[in-house]
């Protein structure tokens, strides 16, 4: 047994997130329960109760107040954290825009969950897709280890003086949030080496008073918003550097997208989050059945890693995009498929197939993904395949 392996724990993604919060020495945590996020803040409360983390816990009365309180705390220079899911994320939607507009380096974990109505406590990506334009950097992690590493990395990216944007670390509710798997925390020393505490942003300080959150006229508003555009571009560049820094300090990195057997692939499936493991198994199975399949995973969703994606897709003739949310009335109806159709659909010689699957955690097995991968062959050469979304697995079709 090596020395490193003695640090390996068994934890859910929620516990891994809490562990990262402890290791980067977060100062203020807003706590509000919502399934399947709750165990993140429970674990943090436990760390504080045991003296493992010195932080102020604010037992807010809603997610809206959670984000509001964090904005106040961050505006004072504190490292702040919260986590949420589903309706909670939507309830704080208003304030998400304000956090990014005020350029506060908050970090939040999102255990992704379906949206009401009807109520579903189970997993899909509808909540995340509804806030994708709120000006936050968005990572979607696929394992407990990645959730830990990304949460640590998130503070470095958010607090980079050339970025100063809030960061979401999203992962699948239940599938990741409640599945225990091995993971290795870096420990406080290495976490703080990667994300040292530097107060790089403008703060409320009686010694040099500033006014934050002003009203602006048409004369200025647009420039503020444009600066957020520039910050996102910078964040993309910094996110690439961050992968190298993580490799150096943590001994692990992921890239902005991950690929599997894509080099010689003819057809490929694109997924996010915890479908990644099954997608890779499906690729192997599809290849056994004679389809030269590959798979990709978007790890960074905002800013969108277009160059990485384009590079990976060269040579692929059919791309199936598995969306776990619906953009109602849009063609295609999968939000990521829509985005890829708009950004690279015409630049690459590629047929794009929009697939919606797994809503409200409807089971999608390796077999299902294999079937989807094999079926992509049928769309070869079809230029308008993406205009029709395949609602895979829905009954009554």
């Amino acid at each position: 047994m090596t020395l490193a392996s003695t640090r390996v724990k068994v934890a859910t993604a929620n516990e891994a997130a809490a562990e990262a919060v402890k290791d980067v020495d977060v100062d203020v945590v807003a706590i509000y329960p919502i399934t399947p996020q709750t165990t993140v803040v429970e674990k943090i409360a436990e760390f504080v109760a045991n003296g493992d983390l010195d932080a102020e816990l604010i037992y807010v009365e809603s997610e809206h107040s959670a984000m509001s309180a964090l904005i106040g705390a961050s505006a004072c220079g504190a490292r702040a954290f919260t986590s949420t899911s589903s309706q909670g994320l939507i309830y704080m939607h208003e304030v998400l825009h304000i956090a990014s507009g005020m350029r506060l380096p908050l970090v939040m974990c999102v255990a992704m969950r379906a949206l009401s109505a009807p109520i579903s406590i189970w997993n899909d990506h509808s909540d995340l897709m509804s806030v994708r334009d709120s000006g936050w950097v968005i990572y979607v992690a696929s394992s407990a280890q990645e959730v830990y590493d990304t949460t640590v990395m998130a503070y470095r990216l958010a607090e980079d003086p050339e970025v100063l944007l809030p960061v979401m670390v999203a992962y699948d509710g239940f599938i990741a949030s409640h599945t225990a798997e091995p993971f290795e925390p870096a420990g406080r020393e290495r976490a703080l080496e990667l994300s040292p505490k530097r107060r790089t942003w403008s703060r409320l300080d009686p010694d040099s008073p500033i006014t934050m959150g002003t009203i602006t006229s048409p004369e200025y508003y647009y420039e503020f918003k444009y600066q957020q555009v520039v910050a996102m571009e910078k964040a993309l560049e910094k996110a690439r550097e961050l992968e190298r820094a993580a490799q150096r300090v943590l001994g692990r990195s992921y890239g902005l997208i991950e690929t599997y057997k894509i080099e010689d692939a003819d057809v490929a499936l694109l997924v996010m989050g915890s479908y990644w493991d099954n997608a890779r198994l499906a690729v192997d199975e599809a290849r056994r059945r004679g389809t030269r399949a590959g798979a990709l995973r978007l790890r960074l969703y905002r800013p969108f890693p277009l160059e990485e994606l384009e590079r990976a897709l060269r040579g692929v003739s059919v791309l199936g995009v598995v969306d776990r949310a619906i953009s109602y009335g849009a063609r295609p109806s999968g939000p990521i498929a829509l985005e890829i159709a708009a950004s690279i659909g015409r630049r690459l010689d590629l047929s794009l197939v929009s697939i919606v699957a797994g809503l409200g955690q409807r089971t999608v097995t390796v077999e299902d993904l294999t079937e989807l991968a094999v079926s992509l062959e049928n769309a070869r050469g079809a230029r308008d395949a993406h205009l029709v979304t395949r609602f895979y697995g829905v009954r009554g079709l």
Partner: protein, 314 residues
């Protein structure tokens, strides 16, 4: 922080300065100016979206010489909770001077407090954050142009409670925000009125010195929304007290004390007749308001354990 005994005790230093866009004769600026004078430079002010927010922090200008933040309409108390928590932990960790006491003050309107901001306020009070919450009450949503709020008094005209053949202005009563705040068991709550600046300033100081959350509810005559001549704002504020339409009191650790005693009250009509928002009232309707005020005076006297507000002298 010292409770001022005369106007000479009020600091000369101006931390809320002119050049803002408040209406001529607006009393909200007067209250803000006094509030930050009493709190001093070691203060962080949080505002909700309101007249004061849009007119005193108009980029690239500001009227605030203390750190000031606005986030949204309904969340000033939550933002203040975060600030107060951050100051505590940052002092504990040595990131800011632990010996330094920094006041956290909210300055919010009645809409942002009585209505949309009530949940955040309740959360802040319940959790016990050491924040002084000052609500300036102009009795409607004045920032958006005189729509009724939970603080609008009965029968007042507003743009959403217009006076017509079927409706006679705002229906129902004015929410008792001090009672709501006190229901959280907070150590200090008070009502105040800018026509009595020393009393108001003393309440700001007591609120700031309280060992937990405090709330000061301040009447703010609004020239635009109430429809009166800009020069009579303070006169109207005084008439509110003299008629018993407004009672200055404070509650310290659950004990109520009337701070501006009125041995002989003026009839409410003197207050109502100076304002366009009440110009439609019939003598019967004025009598109805008088009766409501009489009952409220009785209630406060009973709580104070004395006849602090006397009968109407005609």
């Amino acid at each position: 922080m010292k409770v001022p005994e005369s106007v000479r005790d009020i600091p000369r230093e101006e931390l809320f300065v002119g050049g803002h866009g408040l209406c001529a004769g607006c009393v909200a600026g007067t209250i803000a100016r006094h509030l930050v004078k009493m709190a001093g430079p070691n203060t962080i002010v949080v505002s909700s979206t309101s007249c004061v927010e849009v007119s005193t922090a108009f980029y690239p200008y500001t009227s605030w010489r203390v750190p000031w933040i606005h986030v949204a309409f309904e969340n000033a108390a939550a933002v203040a909770s975060g600030i107060e928590s951050a100051l505590k932990v940052l002092a504990r960790k040595g990131a800011i001077d632990p010996s330094r006491r920094i006041n956290v003050v909210v300055y919010a309107g009645d809409g942002g407090t009585f209505d949309i901001g009530l949940q955040a306020l309740s959360g802040m009070l319940e959790r016990g954050h050491k924040v002084t919450y000052v609500v300036y009450d102009n009795e409607a949503y004045m920032n958006t142009g005189i729509q009724r709020s939970g603080a609008t008094p009965p029968m007042a005209w507003t743009s959403t409670t217009p006076v017509g053949s079927k409706v006679r202005g705002k229906e129902g009563r004015k929410k008792d925000i001090v009672a709501i705040a006190l229901a959280h068991g907070i150590p200090y709550a008070a009502t105040a009125n800018p026509a009595y600046p020393l009393d108001m300033d003393a309440k700001f100081v007591r609120g700031l010195s309280a060992p937990g959350p405090s709330l000061v509810h301040v009447l703010m005559p609004c020239t635009t929304g109430w429809r009166f001549e800009p020069r009579i704002g303070i006169k109207l504020a005084r008439l509110a007290v003299e008629t018993g339409m407004w009672i200055n009191y404070e509650v310290v650790e659950g004990r109520l004390r009337v701070t501006t005693k009125v041995p002989k009250r003026k009839p409410v009509e003197e207050y109502l007749r100076l304002q366009g928002r009440f110009s439609h009232l019939t003598p019967e309707e004025i009598r109805e308001i008088q009766n409501t005020v009489d009952r409220e005076v009785d209630r406060i006297n009973a709580l104070a354990g004395e006849i602090a507000i006397g009968p109407v002298a005609r």
